[in-house]
């Protein structure tokens, strides 16, 4: 399906893909957070959060900062 992830259009995965599947596809783990269409997803909701064509996803991590 086609998603907008961090401002980039990406075709990734297929129908029924969950937020957890997306993270796995992208090889993401550790201290990250995901937002779907403006709603922050709790980590324990990733498994049951089914993504849909055209969703806007933001994925963030900690980086060095003061």
């Amino acid at each position: 399906m086609t998603l907008t992830i961090n401002g980039e259009e990406r075709t990734i995965g297929g129908e029924g893909m969950s937020a957890a599947d997306l993270a796995a596809h992208l090889g993401l783990e550790g201290r990250i957070a995901m937002e779907r269409n403006g709603m922050i997803l709790k980590r324990d909701e990733w498994e049951n959060e089914t993504l849909e064509q055209g969703d806007t996803i933001e994925i963030v991590q900690f980086v060095g900062g003061g």
Binding site: I32, G64, G66
Partner: protein, 257 residues
């Protein structure tokens, strides 16, 4: 030396350290170790999709530290709230440094949005440490908004100028109802010690260590300076005077007769 209490958190070290601008992960690990800090600050940014890895923190056991993410990048209180919530989800941490910049030249905070963001984040359950300028009234306002610590800048972020307005900083400390952490603008250990001697409860710095020729050595120096300044403050220094006051007895001087 007394311990530092911020909200529910008890901190053994009064030095808080940023994680930005290190040249290599190795230098960062050595500096963090040498600093003795218990609190590390971070920024929250989009993950690079084609090179996804938890960047720059290899070798650091983050579980040993309190995580203090910041809201840098937010221009409004609403953006700060969103960044803070993402940080909480990512790091499972409830401390947040409110940083809402209002001027790209000076990186001074937007006072209106900073006060609003502080109130919103306190209401959302965060332990809130608010970055402010050295404005005495702004420091009061963010405390009224409920912050758990106020963090006035000594000087502009990354400038290394030290305390440019000691009068204001003294007033902020004298009037504070919550811990005062001097954040930003510290360049050398003497600046850090000066802040602590003035009665600041802690110092947050980043560039001074990360940008030093030998970050590990500078981190050790900053640790010593913060400890020295705090011990001096707690000891009750002598009041300065305009005339001399001899340390040796003025009587009993032996002279040839």
């Amino acid at each position: 030396m007394s311990v530092l209490q911020i909200g529910e958190k008890t901190l053994q070290s009064r030095l808080l350290l940023g994680t930005g601008k290190y040249r290599t992960p190795e230098e960062q690990v050595e500096a963090v170790e040498a600093s003795g800090t218990g609190v590390l600050t971070f920024a929250v940014r989009r993950i690079p999709l084609d090179n996804a890895r938890e960047e720059t923190f290899q070798g650091l056991d983050l579980a040993r530290y309190e995580m203090l993410p910041n809201t840098a990048g937010a221009d409004t209180a609403e953006e700060a709230l969103r960044t803070a919530r993402l940080a909480r989800e990512a790091g499972l941490c409830d401390m947040i440094k409110v940083e809402v910049i209002g001027c790209s030249e000076t990186l001074l905070p937007d006072p209106v949005e900073t006060i609003k963001a502080t109130r919103m984040l306190v209401e959302d359950g965060f332990t809130v440490l608010t970055y402010t300028s050295d404005d005495v009234v702004l420091a009061k306002r963010v405390q009224e908004a409920g912050c758990h610590a106020v963090m006035p800048a000594a000087a502009p972020i990354g400038s290394g100028l030290g305390i440019v307005n000691p009068y204001n900083l003294k007033q902020i400390i004298a009037q504070a109802q919550v811990p005062v952490i001097v954040d930003a603008g510290i360049g050398t250990p003497s600046h850090a010690a000066q802040a602590m001697e003035m009665g600041a409860d802690g110092v947050l710095l980043n560039s001074a260590v990360a940008g030093a020729g030998d970050p590990e050595k500078m981190a050790e120096a900053m640790k010593a300076a913060v400890t020295a300044g705090r011990l001096a403050f707690e000891s009750g220094p002598i009041p300065p005077r305009d005339t001399a006051f001899a340390s040796s007895p003025q009587t009993g001087v032996s002279r040839p007769s």
